[in-house]
Amino acid sequence: MKQYSNTKATLALAKASFRSIMRSPSAVVFTLAFPLIFILVFGFLGGGGTHIDVGIAPNSDVNNPVIGTLEKTGMIRLVKNKSQADLTRLLEKGNVDAVIDVHRKINSVAYSVNVAYTSASRDKGGILKSVLNNLFYDKQLKPSVAEIKESTVEGREYKTIDFILPGQLGFSLLSTGVFGTAFVFLSLRQTLVIKRFFATPVKRSSIVIGEGIARIGFALIGALFIILLGHFFFGFTLVHGALTVLNMLILATLGVIVFMGFGFIISGIAKNESMVPPISNIVTLPQFLLSGTFFSIEAFPSWLQPISRALPLTYLNDAMRKVAFEGQGLWDVKQQILILIIWGIGIYAVAVKVFKWE
């Protein structure tokens, strides 16, 4: 008799499962359509009303007509009481659009204005520049303003898409992992598909691994699609190009494996298919809202933040953003990866207990 091949059986299952997923409307909607809709909405909402955030250098003279006039324009928000180091950091990220330092010139009534712009926010820097130029030529101010010195700090432009896309990607992986796995294993069990499989020499591990390969493959294709669409149509930042994409896909794989664990648990505790969505929502919805998918978790009230910091998606999102925008390597986000792995171990420990084959 020919030697039975577990690998062949696993791959046959992976292929079948992948074909099935690709033809399942709900999988495609959850993995691609939802995240893309959010990316579109936020991608276009991005702009909004223009405000220019201008940092005041710590040793700057505050009571001078230049800053007073800037405040009056209504377009400029002053950021005060920050250390020079903080300001430099904010400037590099584009969180402030410029830093202004005003000194009275020695032995003179005139002021010297030092402005540092950032390449992370050239548009707004440009607006500020023209505002300042207007000041300079303003007849009333002219005698008191002697000179404007300008410099530009090199920084990366941080766009709305850079925040939204990793969050949506994380959400897409979460729903693919949780809903997909839960539905598939429940329905395979209920329609006795798994029982029929057991009448063949296939091993249980082959069924789980085959199904996992298909789902991870599908999730990665979805992730790649979202990343590339974001990059080419919305200017999503990929600091090291293809390497960054690769790092993101590795993180995505880890994420989807962890999230599939939730799916295994749900398929075990749900009695029928109509119970899957409510239980799945208990898992996905809090993470969707609290894990920094739409807003930075720093924006949440302080009592809510510990909850956010307990959720696995928070760390996946965090790691994705660091890798994509700040160009960090996987080793730099080892803390996030470690927490995801700990979550994974915990989830699979429960899954092994509650998962049902028949």
Partner: protein, 254 residues
């Protein structure tokens, strides 16, 4: 049967669920290359017995040998030489018949041509159809196709004709007879006695988890007649099913 070599031996099989005895002390043999029928009312333990032989269910006690392999220790070997059609089993969603057969080929580690398998059960026209879109008879024939992938020595068919119309039923009988002619042993359960009489070489009657009779259909009928049994009504030379087939034609439609 000329050659009476047992391919399945069941000795003192017992299956207990918590407070319910599904199978009690069942013993029988299935001979090589016969069509063996397990008959009996619902809940008599037919399916449980089959599933224990198929290694899908644990037994409480007893011994089962399938082609020299023990179900206790050599379940994997048994799975490679049997084909199983389950009552009401579904198939992987969203796949067409060819893709499903490819999947099963992988699961059995067999090299097959899906179209050839479909031709065997006369479903080549449905190659691109989903299992769900098939008629009752087509579904059963497809299920039988999946049992043949690993060229098994024995196939188990659990109520394959339940719910089929007379034409589809006769069509399936022909298929099963063909499979047997190719050297495969067939174990079948059914509720239809005419089917058992036509199809089976030997039948076992199962009642409350026990075998109450086992012989060829002919012998069982003779035994009853010899005991003085008479039908209440004079038997006619045809029955209503013959009328149905005569009127609607033998040709099988979907």
């Amino acid at each position: 049967m000329e050659t009476k070599k047992a391919i399945i031996t069941v000795n003192n099989l017992v299956k207990k669920y918590d407070d319910f005895v599904a199978v009690q002390d069942l013993s029988f043999e299935v001979y090589e290359n016969e069509i063996f029928g397990l008959l009996g009312p619902n809940g008599a333990g037919k399916t449980t017995t089959l599933e224990i032989i198929e290694t899908l269910r644990d037994k409480t006690s007893g011994e089962i040998i399938v082609d020299g392999f023990s179900v206790d220790k050599q379940a994997q070997e048994i799975k490679q030489i049997i084909g199983v059609q389950l009552q009401a089993a579904g198939y992987y969603p969203n796949l067409n018949l060819v893709e499903l057969l490819e999947l099963f080929a992988g699961l059995y580690g067999a090299d097959i041509k899906p179209m050839e398998m479909l031709e065997k059960v006369n479903l080549q026209d449905k190659a691109k159809a989903r299992y769900k879109a098939l008629s009752g008879g087509q579904k059963q024939r497809f299920s039988i196709a999946t049992t043949l992938i690993n060229q098994p020595k024995i196939i188990f068919l659990d109520e394959p004709t339940t719910g089929l119309d007379p034409q589809a039923r006769r069509n399936l009988w022909d298929l099963i007879t063909d499979i047997r002619s190719n050297g495969t042993t067939v174990v079948i359960t059914t509720h239809y006695m005419d089917e058992a009489e036509q199809l089976c070489d030997r039948v076992a009657f199962v009642e409350r988890g026990q075998i109450i009779a086992l012989d060829t259909p002919d012998q069982l009928i003779d035994n009853l007649v010899n005991s003085g049994f008479e039908r209440k009504k004079e038997v006619k030379k045809a029955n209503l099913e013959d009328v149905f087939i005569h009127l609607t034609g033998k040709e099988w439609r979907e």
